[in-house]
């Protein structure tokens, strides 16, 4: 697993996104990511032990929050979901990274894509196994991304965001048959990498 500090990692991630998708997408991504991270941190405190993150609810909350700004920056709800899926993946990865950093005894750094003040997220508590699984997943996904960005987008929507096949198709502007096929391929690929 990489050992660079996370701020650097995210910045690089953002550069990669900007290179691949253009500056508008990158700006939007950073906006959505920040909001999502903030809301997730707040939600986390509300949850009891048996709670699992309702990613769909989280995304809706982010959507509603950002929609209220005069120029939210996305062309459609579907477009927003495409961005949100990417951001969700990043949020979860960030938590995994923090956990890893804590385990290494390092200090948790505040992860921010802009200068906005944000609540510290320090108290992430998921098991070592979870964090390793998640980081392995991220690694595998990055390799998949290198071969086939479309499959990796599908994973973001289906796996990280919890969208249905139909919702994924709408968010990505492709057919449901393509989503189904891509999802099957990605699962096989990722499992083969991680198992």
């Amino acid at each position: 697993m990489n050992s660079e500090d996370q701020t650097g990692d995210i910045t690089r991630h953002l550069h990669a996104i900007e290179a691949a998708e253009g500056p508008a997408f990158a700006r939007l991504f950073s906006l959505v990511y920040n909001e999502m991270y903030r809301i997730a941190a707040a939600q986390r405190a509300r949850w009891n032990g048996d709670f699992t993150l309702n990613t769909t609810a989280l995304v809706h909350e982010v959507y509603e929050k950002l929609s209220r700004s005069p120029n939210p920056g996305w062309e459609s709800r579907a477009h927003f979901f495409a961005v949100a899926a990417r951001a969700m993946r990043q949020v979860l990865y960030t938590y995994a990274e923090q956990k890893n950093a804590l385990k290494r005894g390092g200090e948790v750094q505040r992860v921010s894509l802009d200068d906005e003040e944000r609540e510290p997220a320090g108290d992430v508590t998921f098991s070592d196994e979870q964090s390793l699984q998640l980081m392995a997943m991220e690694d595998a996904l990055r390799r998949l991304e290198a071969h086939s960005p479309r499959e990796s987008r599908i994973v973001e929507c289906r796996f990280y965001l919890g969208l249905s096949v139909e919702e994924t198709a709408e968010a990505m502007g492709i057919s449901t048959a393509t989503v189904k096929r891509g999802w099957a391929v990605a699962k096989a690929w990722l499992y083969n990498e991680i198992k």
Binding site: R44, A45, G49, L53, Q133, A188, K195
Partner: protein, 820 residues
């Protein structure tokens, strides 16, 4: 793996996976050809796909990944913090995490709120906060969340407070606007809590739906009192912590000015607005815009969002939202008074609607003119109009007015459609055929739900005088319809009630007020019943209502029993003469026999008659138990009887409290206390429940607690109540050794300038508390003469126990036929 090879592999994998499994192997062979490496990789991936699916890998990983967000690790379930054991997370407020915990010493659930952040690093501001929070903790009020303690754990201050099993108003509102009556009920409780705090000089500063909890019993509880002034949080410009709450911020608060209680009233205005409309009065796309709207805009008209909000209520909300504090109400109390008035109007309206909707209903359509002569249209319409007028006078029947019914003339609608539009379950239609002087009229009653004919009748007449025929037909048809629509039994009873719609309406209003039981309401109810009787002197139900009003006026100690019971008896007797099946009248008759004539056997007969006529008559059971049986020291029977009343009407506070009073009379103090607490939990405004609690405290010799309970009871009962509560308070003061105060209460009863009847019984209660036995006996004798409320209950009143064995006391009891 090279990128292009990987890409090819993924494309191939997609193709293979799209095939049915039995065709996959052949396809792999075909596309890979001699490339054994590619083939091996592809086969491995296909195998992975099946395996992943079989072991549910993604579902499992997904679950674990989504488990990522767990409660913070700082505090764990099961951890001990002082006497508290953490059980889980209850929520998160603006200032920190709230935990659900258990107080292991007192064995009660608590909520622990930890206050975090740099705000508290500064010792001075921290001290200021703690002082303020401690002051707020002193607010003991049913509508304010109780704070048990403020303490520190490992340097982090926390507040231990009552755990509220319920939801916040914010969550409740997610389902849309609240029902009008419910919103009013909650609004009044917010006012009560605010008033209590404001009286002690404490301003909440952050009244918003998230801080208003509704317990599972439906009680509204304001939380976070005294927390809003946390240094830093009241400074809008400083941080984003106020995010999402600017909507409830008063203009003066938004400007950073000093705030007073009227700022909370402004926030209350927003909360009320939101409860009624599920929208906010001031909106904007950003916080800045919201603040601009608050500072400069007008609230969005409520009527544009919801049409059934009464005008008075809209006015009240707008006044709360006045930009200048001085234009708002002077206090939460003033708002409360107004809300109560609106509430009773709304309830009355609802009650009338409910009664109207439960009645059978009918629309009379203009009769169809089947003859050539258009002149006959006049006759056809006239006949229908006559029918409408006559039917409108039938009590218990809702009749659609002429204009609505006639709107369907010449419209090609079937009766089912018309029934739906007019919301009636019956339609009367008919036809008129005239030939020379002969007229044939056919009338038919149709079930609007299915279009079936219920009844149909042909009338052949010689038309000498149009009006004669109209009258005769209308009467004839109405008589038939009464039986058809109301059933023969009810039609029979109609004789004893009224055919006068106005009298009926007056009666409904009278019963509405009677149900509220205050002196003012009872007086008003009696007046309305008398008005109904002036329109229809033989209206048995109105007579019975009048009897009930007078009976309760005596029973509740609003007036001298000797003055009102004879009147009650007279009205009840007349009602029974008119309608021997009227259960309520027998209860009133029973009460006057018992408390005026001291005729216990006669009273019991009347009560049993009332119950046998309608075994579901809960008030009858309760009355029989609480007054007739209890007074005769037949407590076991009384407890059985009141249990029946509770089964029939489990939600009645009056009946529940009455059962507690019988428990008190039966010396079952633990049970009585439980009963009182249960009622208070459900309805923290019910004075008698507090009084009951006080009565029990007294018997436990917790006199200061008793005094507090009685003071609360008297405050809730208001100045226009009877002296019952004063007697209780005076007795408790005397028992606590505060004789001077007790004497003051006693002499305050002499002041009857406000027309209040000072019951000698209540004076006797205070005297016996003061140990002035002779004076107590004097007053009791007066009480017997006066037929004052509760006089007969002296027989079971624990406070008079010390008089047992005194000859004079025995004489008094014997004079009421209650001797041993």
């Amino acid at each position: 793996m090279r990128a292009d090879r990987g890409k090819a592999l993924i494309v191939l994998l997609g193709e293979v996976l799209a095939l049915p499994s039995e065709r996959r192997a052949a396809y792999v062979d075909e596309v890979c050809g001699d490339d054994t490496g590619l083939k091996a990789e592809l086969l491995r991936l296909i195998e992975s796909a099946d395996e992943a699916e079989n072991i549910g890998f993604f579902a499992d990983l997904g679950r674990r990944v989504q488990d990522v967000l767990q409660p913070p690790e700082e505090f764990r379930v099961g951890e001990r913090i002082g006497p508290y054991e953490l059980e889980g997370i209850a929520g998160r407020g603006g200032m920190g995490v709230v935990y659900r915990a258990r107080d292991l010493t007192l064995q009660r659930p608590v909520a622990l709120k930890f206050l975090t952040g740099p705000l508290l690093a500064n010792t001075e501001s921290r001290q200021r906060f703690l002082n303020e929070a401690r002051a707020a903790a002193g607010l003991g009020h049913p509508n304010i969340c109780t704070v048990y303690e403020i303490n520190e754990h490992a340097g982090t201050p926390f507040i231990a407070m009552a755990f509220i099993d319920g939801v916040s108003l914010k969550e409740l509102e997610k389902k849309g606007p609240l029902d009008l009556a419910e919103a009013l009920r909650l609004g009044m409780q917010i006012c009560e809590g605010l008033q209590a705090a404001h009286e002690k000089g404490i301003v909440h500063r952050d009244i918003k739906p998230a801080n208003l909890m509704i317990s599972s019993h439906g009680r509204l509880i304001i939380t976070d009192f005294g927390l809003a002034k946390l240094p830093g949080t009241d400074d809008l410009s400083k941080s984003g912590t106020t995010r999402g709450t600017v909507a409830y911020m008063s203009p003066e608060q938004a400007l950073g000015k000093e705030v007073d209680p009227r700022s909370d009233l402004w926030s209350l205005g927003v909360v009320l607005y939101e409860m009624f409309t599920a929208a906010r009065p001031f909106e904007g796309r950003s916080e800045y815009e919201v603040i601009q709207a608050i500072l400069n805009g007008d609230p969005r008209p409520m009527e544009s969002i919801r049409s059934d909000i009464p005008k008075e209520l809209r006015g009240l909300v707008y006044r709360l939202l006045a930009r200048k504090p001085r234009d708002r109400y002077v206090s939460a109390q003033a708002v409360l008074v107004e809300l109560r008035a609106i509430d009773s109007t709304v309830r009355l309206r609802m009650e009338m609607t409910r009664v109207a909707q439960s009645m059978p209903s009918i629309a009379v359509l203009p009769f169809v003119n089947m003859s050539a002569d258009p002149e006959n249209d006049f006759f056809c319409e006239g006949l229908a109009e006559e029918l409408i007028n006559d039917l409108a006078n039938v009590s218990g029947l809702r009749v659609v007015a002429r204009t609505s019914s006639f709107a369907f003339k010449n419209k090609a609608l079937n009766v089912q459609e018309i029934g739906r539009k007019l919301q009636v379950d019956h339609i009367l239609e008919g036809s008129v055929r005239k030939a020379g002087r002969q007229v044939r009229i056919v009338a038919q009653l149709v079930n609007a739900a299915d279009g079936y004919h219920i009844w149909s009748q042909r009338y052949d007449r010689v038309l000498d005088d149009v009006f004669d025929v109209q009258d005769e037909l209308a009467l004839n048809i109405v008589e038939v319809l009464k039986i058809k629509l109301l059933g023969s039994q009810k039609a029979e009873i109609l004789k004893h009630t009224t055919t006068n719609g106005q009298a009926f309406e007056l009666y409904l209003k009278a019963r509405f007020h009677w149900n509220r039981r205050t002196q003012q309401d009872l007086e008003q109810a009696a007046e309305l019943a008398e008005q109904a009787l002036s329109l229809d002197p033989d209206y048995a139900k109105a007579l019975s209502c009048l009897a009930d009003c007078r009976m309760l006026t005596g029973l509740y100690g609003y007036r001298r029993g000797a003055d009102v019971y004879p009147l009650a008896r007279e009205a009840a007797q007349r009602a029974i003469d008119l309608d021997p099946f009227l259960e309520e009248a027998y209860s009133s008759l029973g009460a006057s026999r018992a408390f005026c004539d001291w005729d216990w056997a006669g009273a019991e007969r009347a009560c049993r008659k009332a119950i046998s006529l309608n075994s579901n008559y809960s008030t009858g059971h309760s009355f029989f138990a609480g007054f007739i049986l209890a007074a005769q020291r037949r407590v076991d029977e009384a407890l059985n009887e009141i249990a029946i009343a509770q089964q029939i009407d489990p939600l009645s506070f009056v009946i529940q409290t009455a059962s507690g009073i019988i428990q008190w009379q039966a010396r079952q103090y633990e049970k009585a206390f439980e009963t009182a607490s249960r009622v208070i939990e459900q309805n923290p405004r019910f004075w008698l429940a507090f009084a009951l609690r006080g009565l029990v405290y007294e018997q436990w010799e917790q006199f200061e607690d008793a005094i507090q309970a009685f003071e609360k009871a008297n405050e809730l009962a208001g100045s226009r109540s009877s002296t019952l509560g004063l007697g209780m308070l005076g007795h408790a003061l005397a028992s606590a050794g505060r004789n001077k105060h007790a004497e003051a209460v006693l002499s305050a009863m002499d002041d009857d300038s406000d027309g209040r009847y000072a019951s000698p019984y209540d004076r006797a209660v205070i005297c016996v508390g003061l140990g002035r036995v002779d004076a107590a006996l004097d007053w009791l004798e007066r009480s017997v003469d006066d037929r004052s409320s509760w006089t007969a209950l002296v027989n079971v009143d624990p406070r008079f126990e010390r008089l047992e064995g005194l000859p004079r006391f025995a004489v008094i009891r014997a004079s009421m036929n209650l001797g041993d």
